[in-house]
């Protein structure tokens, strides 16, 4: 087979292959009957509790129920997109068995096609520069030369046995001799002591390797960056076990005005290890002036976690109710180490330093910090301002 014929054949095979893929990807005429549409849609949606099977394929009762829902929606005249959106809104995009053509899903569609295109390009590139047209390496040239020499020698035998007539032999001999001369010339180049051709080949290969490595490096950096960004977008933080995906909603708050302290005490007694309600109750007692009760509940909170509010308020109660000024100071400082943005802790710290430790200079910074918070109640703000001027005079 001639090289041209071989090339055309391989192009034909490749074109047929691509055509099959394109035909497979292009959707045909839309399904006509309701049954067809229901089946089509159901086969693209994952049954939520069926080990990844589609609603159409799964045998469970959930799948049967969901198939009924899809049928209702098709009969109600909803479009395919509406029905897919309906499921995505409830189960997320994970419900779709075909990845959506956007975001990360787009990569799943594009990458195989890009890989195919790259493969075709590489094959075509090799073919163009490959041995089919002209042997490139010295080894191949010498092999080709051997073959031509053999063919030349065979011509005499073929003429002798009458396989070829004389004019054909003459024509072939001329062709073979021309080919042999050309190949010898090439071999001479390759054998040249300066190694110019071989050197050029090596240099070209090296350039190719460098270019390939550069493309690869850029691609990997791109993949790495996009993966990094994708991971960073998912912000953790939030409750208890992690794995928090989203929590943008501000909870609608229930008014606790109608809830008595006794009712909260009952919950706290029943679930002693749960901090939020206990902390809320302790805060109630604290601001109502029931410092003993507040102290007990805050201590119970501190037995379970290092809570900034509990540390600060226990520190303040300790300062007010005992001579343990150093312990009170330490607790408030620990609270600020846990949560530096608690205005009341600065207020406690300033008071303890100014009056408890007779350290007016040390009280100035926390008072200034306290006054910098915009939502300090007016009464406390006035008190803090007079405390600040007292501290500044004494310092």
């Amino acid at each position: 087979m001639t090289p041209t014929a071989r090339r055309m054949l391989s192009f034909g095979v490749m074109a047929a292959f691509l055509a099959v893929i394109v035909i497979a990807l292009v959707p045909g005429d839309g399904p006509q009957t309701v049954d067809d549409r229901v089946r089509e849609i159901a086969s693209n949606i994952k049954c939520p509790a069926c080990n990844g099977a589609s609603i159409a394929d799964a045998q469970s009762s959930v799948a049967r129920d969901l198939l009924g829902v899809i049928r209702d929606q098709v009969e109600a005249g909803l479009s395919d997109a509406d029905i897919y959106d309906y499921f995505v809104a409830r189960y997320s995009e994970a419900a779709l068995l075909s990845p959506p053509g956007r975001g990360w899903g787009l990569w799943l569609w594009v990458l195989p096609l890009a890989a195919l295109a790259l493969g075709v390009a590489v094959v075509l590139g090799r073919r163009r520069g490959g041995p089919g047209t002209a042997p490139s390496s010295a080894h191949a040239v010498s092999e080709a030369l051997d073959a031509v020499t053999r063919d030349l020698a065979d011509l005499d035998d073929q003429l002798r046995v009458g396989e070829l007539d004389e004019s054909t032999v003459r024509r072939l001999r001329a062709t073979y001799e021309a080919e042999a001369a050309a190949l010898e010339a090439r071999l001479g180049d390759a054998d040249a002591p300066s190694g110019e051709s071989a050197g050029a080949t090596t240099a070209r290969s090296n350039r190719r390797v460098v270019a390939g490595a550069a493309v690869l490096g850029v691609a990997m950096i791109a993949v790495g960056l996009s993966v990094g960004l994708a991971i960073r977008d998912r912000e953790p933080g939030g409750p208890i076990t992690g794995d928090v995906v989203q929590s943008a909603a501000a909870a609608g708050v229930v008014s606790l005005e109608d809830v008595t302290n006794e009712e909260m005490e009952a919950v706290v007694a029943q679930f002693p290890d749960n901090v939020p309600m206990r902390r809320a109750l302790a805060r109630r007692y604290f601001f109502a002036g029931s410092l003993d009760r507040a102290f007990d509940h805050y201590m119970a909170v501190l037995d379970r976690e290092r809570d900034a509010e509990a540390l600060a308020n226990v520190g303040w109660i300790t300062y007010l109710g005992s001579d343990e000024v150093e312990i009170a100071l330490s607790l408030v400082e620990q609270s600020l180490a846990v949560e530096p943005e608690n205005p009341m802790a600065y207020w406690f710290l300033a008071n303890i330093r100014l009056d408890g430790l007779d350290d007016p200079a040390g009280a100035i910074a926390p008072l200034e910090r306290f006054l910098a918070y915009p939502d300090v109640p007016d009464e406390l703000r006035r008190e803090a301002e007079s405390l600040l001027s007292r501290a500044e005079q004494a310092a």
Partner: protein, 203 residues
């Protein structure tokens, strides 16, 4: 024949490079995908969090009439999907009952939706393990499960007083987690999707 070496070395080195590059890309992709993009593959974010709870009217399990979930707006509502065949539901049941009892004074409603099960079996389950302060309804045609995007049992949803779905626990809700979550809701703290264990699917 030095020219053979000269002629061959670059192309074989090129092949090694290509092989190494492909191997490297495969390894990098393997690592990237093995991290599962930093996410638990079993955890599917509920797109419903932050959305209004669906208004559903469901028949009571053990009495006449229906419960309109929309009527519960204004109260914090805990919606638990369960079934008698689900062992996780059995595990969490006592904790659910304790929480429901403790928070009745706080206007917290607990609704149990019997999903993918026969009413008789559900009732026998309650006979055995108790009913507490729960409102039990039946999920006819899995409609509620679909509206809540239920992926398996048990699943527990938290709805705030404005009727917004603010949190979800997949898998058995440990009593402490359940109670802490309800407490945080009562106190107006944000919560989110919490996974405690495997959810169960009925074949």
């Amino acid at each position: 024949m030095s020219d053979v070496v000269v002629g061959h070395r670059p192309s074989s080195r090129y092949g090694v490079w290509v092989f190494a590059a492909v191997a490297l890309v495969a390894v990098v992709l393997g690592i990237v995908f093995s991290t599962r993009f930093g996410q638990d593959p079993d955890l599917v974010a509920s797109p419903l969090i932050g959305q209004p709870a669906p208004d559903l009217e469901l028949p009571f399990l053990e009495s006449e009439g229906t419960l309109d979930l929309g009527d519960l707006r204004g109260d914090i509502t805990v919606v638990n999907f369960w079934a008698s065949w689900c062992t996780g539901c059995r595990i969490e049941h006592a904790g659910l009952l304790r929480a429901a009892e403790a928070f009745t004074d706080f206007d917290v409603r607990f609704v149990g939706i019997l999903h993918q099960d026969q009413p008789g079996r559900g009732i026998r389950f309650l006979d055995e393990l108790g009913r507490g302060e729960f409102l039990y309804v039946e999920d006819v045609g899995s409609r509620a499960g679909l509206e809540y995007g239920v992926l398996g049992l048990p699943e527990t949803f938290f709805i705030d007083a404005d009727g917004i779905i603010v949190g979800k626990i997949s898998g058995p809700a440990p009593a402490d987690l359940l109670v802490a979550t309800v407490q945080r809701l009562i106190l107006g703290e944000a919560i989110g999707t919490i996974k405690t264990g495997e959810v169960e699917n009925r074949e």
